[in-house]
Structure formats: C-alpha cells, structure tokens
C-alpha cells in the first residue's frame, strides 16, 4: 500500500538541522584534537629543553608555505559558498577546484617534509631518534601523530570536495540547496583551525 512512504515522507529537508549536526561533529573533532593538544602541553611542560631543540629540527619554510596555502584554501572555500548563494555555478566550481588543488599540494609538501625526516631516521622507533633521549622521542612522536591525524583529515576533505564538486556540476547543489557545500566548508575550516595551532607549536616556538 504505502510502498515508499518510508523515504518520501519522513525524510524531510531541514538545512538548519544538518548544519547543527555538522557543528556538533566539529565539537567532537575539537575535543579529539584538544586531547592531543593537552598531551602536547603536558609533555612540553615536562621536557621544555627537548621540545625546544625538537622544534629547531623542523623546517619552518615548509610550515609557512603550508600555513599560507591552507589559509588561502579556507578563503576560497568560503568564497565558493558566496558564489553558490549568488547562483554563480562556474565561480563556485572555480573556487572549489582551487581549494581541492591546494589540499593536494598541502599533502605533497607534507610527503616531502616527512620523507626527509624519515630518511634521517627521525621516525617513531627510528635509531637516530632513540639516541636523542626521551623528550625528543616524545616531541617527534607527537609531531607525527598530530600532523598525521591532521593529514588524514585533509585526505577526507579531498574526498568531500570531489563529491561536492560533482554535485554542483550535476546541479544537485544549487542556489537554494547548498547545505552539503556549507558543511564541507565548515569541515575544511576546522582542518584549518587545527593547523593554525599546530603550526606555531611544532614549527615556530623554540
């Protein structure tokens, strides 16, 4: 009798609900990274010198480049929302495409950054690292874990961007229904937020 009632009637559209759900998910992420920052704070407090020396081992230039491009990508994803709100599909695609490319570039940079360190034996369990003592092991352990989990979020973000990009092209996301784009944007800003703190903690403070 009511064959498809299940999907037609009680899945109603509520953009505000979707956005609230996304924000709650962001809070979850904030607490997850928050605990990593807490660990960083504790270990930095206990090993101040080793953390200073560790910070000097990390390449500031790559860090600055990644920070700048990530900030730009945050702006472009925000602008793509403006574009879709104004009904400018091509502009939206252009901004979103830029963000996507920047995300990939970020990962490429990360790959080279990690690659050089691993070559020198600076990785968890690596000989060179173990020789440098406990504080340094902790510093690099946190460095790999925190920037690794961050990079994982970038990869997930790339997946989301590809999906949203196609949806805009197929006009599934448009001027009056763009909550997917908005939520992807929120997610990407979260990734940016985390990096805003990771950057000084690992690359800057000596």
């Amino acid at each position: 009798m009511e064959k498809n009632a299940e999907h037609t009637s009680h899945v109603h559209r509520d953009d505000e609900a979707d956005k609230l759900g996304m924000w709650l998910f962001i809070f979850t992420e904030l607490l997850l990274f928050g605990m990593l920052f807490l660990m960083y704070a504790v270990y930095r407090y206990r090993n101040p010198v080793a953390f200073q020396l560790g910070g000097e081992e990390i390449d500031v230039v790559i860090g600055v480049i990644n920070t700048v491009i990530l900030l730009i990508s945050s702006a472009t994803v925000a602008m793509s929302i403006t574009a879709i709100q104004r009904g400018k599909k091509t502009q939206a695609l252009l901004f979103l495409g830029t963000t996507l490319i920047i995300a990939v570039v970020f990962l490429v940079n990360k790959y080279f950054e990690w690659g050089t360190k691993i070559e020198y034996g600076f990785y968890p369990g690596g000989e060179a690292l173990l020789e440098l003592g406990h504080g340094t092991v902790l510093f690099f352990g946190l460095y790999y874990i925190m920037s690794g989990i961050h990079a994982l979020h970038i990869i997930i973000g790339i997946g989301l961007f590809i999906y949203v990009f196609q949806q805009i092209r197929a006009e599934k996301i448009h001027k009056t229904d763009y909550v997917w784009l908005e939520n992807t944007g929120l997610y990407w800003h979260l990734v940016d937020l985390i990096w805003i703190f990771l950057f000084p903690l690992f690359y800057l403070i000596h």
């Binding site: 299940e6 009680h10 505000e16 609900a17 609230l20 979850t28 607490l31 406990h134 352990g141």
Partner: protein, 536 residues
C-alpha cells in the same frame, strides 16, 4: 480503538511491510522504533553472554585456589565482561533502546532528525562488537581489564588490538547517536512544546547526548594512541620511552568518568517519568530535576581524578578532585529527594514498573552513599582498587542503569509490543533479582574494607566466608534475571494483546500514540499546551 480497525492508516510499525521483508526489513529499516528494538535485541544477546561470564567468575571465587579455570582465563573473562557490559550494554543502553524508541514519540516527532544516520549507528555498533569478538581468532582474548591501563596494555603478550579498535568503533556509534538526539531535540519538538514543557526523559537524553558528543572523542583518541603505541612504539605512554603512564589514566578517565553519567542520567530520566505516573501526581521540582541533570553533566567533566587518588598524582590535584567530587554528589541527592516527595500524598499504583523504580532509588542511594566513601581522600586510599569499588560501581552502573532499564521496559512494554507481560511472573522476577542483587554485591563492601583487592583470581582464606555469600547471591540474581527476561521475551510474542493507548494513565505524548505506534507515529502531530505530568 479496537483490534479490528487495521485500516491502512493504523498498521503498527511491527507489522509494517517496507521495501524489504523479514529480517532485512529490520536491519535496513530507518524507523526509529525498529532501530531501538534492534539495539534491544543485540543487547539482550550480549547481556546474556556477559552475565554468564560474570556468573562463571563468581563460581571461580566460591573457593580459594584453582577451581574452575586458570588465571589467564579468569583475567580474560573480567576483561571481556567489562568491555561488553560497558561499551555494548550500559553506555549505549537506555539512549539507544528507549531514547531511539521514545524520544521522537515523547516530543511529538515522526522520527529522529537523521534516520539513516541512526540506522548507520546501529551498524557501526554491531561492527564494533564483531571486531572485539574477532579477538578470539587473532591472538586471544584481551587480558588488560576494560581500562587498558598503560603500560601493561602494550606489554601483554595477547593481542589487544581488536579490543581497542572495536571499542573505538563503538564510541563512534555513540557519538553519532548523541548528535542525532541533540539535533532532534532542538529541531523537532511538537508545536507548543517549549524547552520547559519537555518531559524529563528527553531532558536527560539531551544532557547525555552532550556528554556523548564531547567526551567520547577523548576515549577514541586515547585508545587509538594506545594502539599506535603498541604497534609503532611511538613513546606516548610508555615510560621506557619517556611517556607518562599516569597521563593515560587522565585521558582515559576524562572520558570514562563522564561516561558514568552517560549511563546513569537517562536512568534518572526514566525514574522521573515513572514515579509521577504511578503516583498520579505531578513531579515534584521539575525545574530542579532539569537543572540538576545539566549540572551533573557539566560538573561531571571535572571529577575524573577521583579514579586516580592512589595513582601517584600530585597532592593538590587530589584534594581539588576530591572537593569537586563531593559537589557532584549534590544534584543526585536533590533528585532522590524530589522523587520521594513526588510520592507524598499521591495515589500509588503498585505495579511492576513502580517496584523497579522504587528499588532503583534504594540501590542508587547505596551506590551514591558509598561513592562518598570513595570520594573522601583518607578512606579512598584504603578501599581504592578493592572489592569496595567493585561493589560501588555495580550498585551505580548495574543498580542504576540496570534497574532503570528494567523499570523502563516494564513501563513501556505494552506500547512497544502491543502486548502485556505476565504481571505475577514479572513481580516474582523482580523480588528474586532484587534479593540476589543485594546478597551478591553487599558482601563485596565488607570484603573491600577487609582489603580484598579487585581483579584477583585467587584469594587468601580469610576472605572465604563473604565470597560464598556473594556467589550464592549471584546465582539467585541470575535466576531472577532469567525469570524477568524469559517472561518479557515470551510475552512479546504470546502475551495478552492490547491496543489500549494509555494503560498506566501517563500524561506524556507517547501515550497518545497508537499501541503499538504506526510507522509515522502520528497522523497529525499533536500540539502541546500543558506542562508534562499535569495531574489534576
């Protein structure tokens, strides 16, 4: 409405035929009621398993020495008992079963905000369980205790990776349920239902959902870090690499203490529903109960350290945590006073749900008051990590969550299944269970005071007498649980049919829906004008 009027509009959710038939119609159904029941059946299976493990452990403790099993088996048993009971049963417990089933009904919604996500949560939960169970085939059952304390958790020769991964996955399911409930409550309340016209069970679910969203990621990252530590030797918690094992305990309890409130708050909500209905009286101090729920949820974040009074933390941290712990006791005390006052001058309907609710108050008081012994620094040092703690948390977690679960299912059973259980067997089950429960756990307080440490496979002869008492109690309690469960399972299929909308005379919205509810709950969403529990 009588049985025969099964017009197309009044097909209950149980009989509804969707795209899939049979079992598939359940495991692919996004209907919040079916999802709730899926959780219920899953929990029933795993509760039986974990309770059996508990019984076997009690039998091993009947006499000192190697009686039933070796130490490795015993250690694996209390670990698996803990993991299943905590992560599979009590943490999801009331929210996943009764929250899913009744939250939309009680606030006048047709479903939760994200029905597909809701079904996905159940799937994720089941996958998490399966991953934990895969331990059996890859490296043996975990033997670390459910707390996975560092550094033992990366030194034990058995493979604890599946347990860590599985628990993390289940945590993810819990987060999604929490997000779903918060959004549902914010966006989908019936017209006229302002925040302070919302019944108390949804209120406690709301407070709980916030803890699920904000605390569960902490355990997720902690378990993942333990995993990385074990697999890669990162040096985060391992003292040999400079890590601090006490930091593991901080992170673990930053989640696991709030998790206790995830377990108990919805239970308090259920009791706050049942007491006024069975007293035929408005709840005493509605606002106090709401505010104390929120206060518990918030202050509960800052007391995790009382699990670590002997861990080697600094003295100042100890008394800060002790102080906060005593403060968090107050909102719970207020709730007890409110419940008892609600009965005053009521007209008490003495039925099974009420018995469970009243015995909840009793065991919860014992659990809470012994919590004061644990919160006080001097006494904690003596009883920490002894049977006293085991008794205390079984009174709170099993007594609190378990009794409220039982109260809830006896209360809402007719609405859920459109059938009634056998009331005399239900009462016999309750008495047996209650007597067994008390004789199982009360001796443990004495054992703890005498200095019997927990997680001991064997013990000194001086502890023997009380262990016998406790083991006999466990047999009685399991018998009681069996009576209750068999009665309910049997009645869900063969019980007296009923389509009475409101058998107990409740005032909350779920009693205005059909029995059992239809797929969409309402033909027309009701408009709310009164406060909940408005008895004249």
């Amino acid at each position: 409405m009588s049985e025969s009027t099964t017009s197309s509009k009044h097909v209950s959710f149980l009989e509804y035929k969707g795209k899939y038939k049979g079992l598939l119609g359940w495991i692919f159904s996004t209907d919040h009621k079916r999802v709730g029941l899926l959780y219920l059946y899953t929990m029933l299976v795993f509760f039986s398993i974990a309770a059996t493990l508990g019984l076997l452990m009690k039998l091993q403790m009947l006499a000192p020495g190697h009686t039933l099993m070796g130490p490795q088996t015993y250690n694996a048993m209390f670990t698996v008992h803990g993991i299943i009971m905590i992560f599979v049963i009590v943490v999801p417990g009331l929210p996943a079963v009764f929250g899913n089933f009744f939250l939309p009904l009680m606030i006048g919604a047709k479903d939760v905000a994200f029905p597909r996500l809701n079904l996905a949560s159940w799937w994720i939960y089941v996958i998490g369980i399966l991953v934990v169970l895969s331990s059996q085939f890859i490296g043996g059952w975990p033997d670390t205790g459910w707390t996975f304390y560092a550094p033992y958790s990366f030194q034990t020769p058995v493979n604890i990776v599946p347990a860590l991964v599985g628990a993390t996955i289940m945590g993810f399911s819990s987060i999604l349920t929490g997000i779903n409930f918060i959004v549902t409550i914010h966006r989908m309340r019936a017209p006229g239902m302002t925040w302070f016209k919302m019944p108390l069970f949804p209120w406690t679910l709301y407070a709980t959902a916030w803890i699920q969203v904000l605390a569960t990621p902490v355990i997720g990252i902690t378990l993942l870090l333990t995993l990385m530590e074990r697999l890669l030797g990162v040096g985060i918690f391992d003292p040999r690499l400079g890590g601090d094992p006490i930091l593991y305990q901080h992170l673990f309890w930053i989640y696991s203490h709030p998790a206790v409130y995830i377990m108990i708050l919805p239970g308090m909500g259920v009791i706050s529903e049942i007491i006024p209905v069975f007293s035929r009286k408005s709840i005493y101090g509605y606002k106090a109960i709401v505010l104390s729920s929120l206060a518990i949820a918030f202050v509960g974040y800052f007391v995790w350290g009382h699990h670590m009074f002997t861990s080697g933390m600094s003295g100042r941290a100890l008394y800060a945590f002790s102080f906060l712990t005593f403060l968090v006791a107050i909102p719970s005390a207020i709730k007890v006073f409110n419940w008892v006052s609600t009965m005053h001058k009521g007209s008490l309907l003495l039925q099974t749900p009420f018995y469970w609710a009243v015995s909840f108050i009793f065991v919860f008081m014992i659990g809470g008051l012994t919590g004061l012994v644990l919160g006080s620094l001097a006494t904690n040092v003596h009883v920490h990590d002894t049977y006293f703690v085991v008794a205390h948390f079984h009174f709170i977690v099993f007594g609190g969550t378990g009794y409220s679960f039982m109260a809830a299912i006896h209360y809402w059973f007719p609405k859920m299944f459109g059938r009634m259980y056998d009331r005399s067997w239900a009462n016999i089950g309750w008495v047996t269970f209650f007597a067994g429960f008390l004789s199982l756990y009360t001796p443990m307080f004495v054992l703890g005071l005498q200095g019997m440490p927990r997680r001991y496979y064997d013990y000194l002869p001086e502890f023997h007498a009380w262990h016998i008492f406790s083991t006999l109690g466990s047999i009685l309690m399991i018998a009681g649980a069996a009576i209750v469960i068999i009665n309910l399972v049997r009645s869900s299929r063969h019980g007296q049919k009923t389509s009475e909308k409101n058998p107990w005379g409740g005032k909350t919205l779920e009693w205005q829906a059909d029995t059992p509810p239809t797929l969409e709950n309402w033909e027309e969403v009701p408009t709310v004008t009164q406060k909940p529990y408005e008895y004249k």
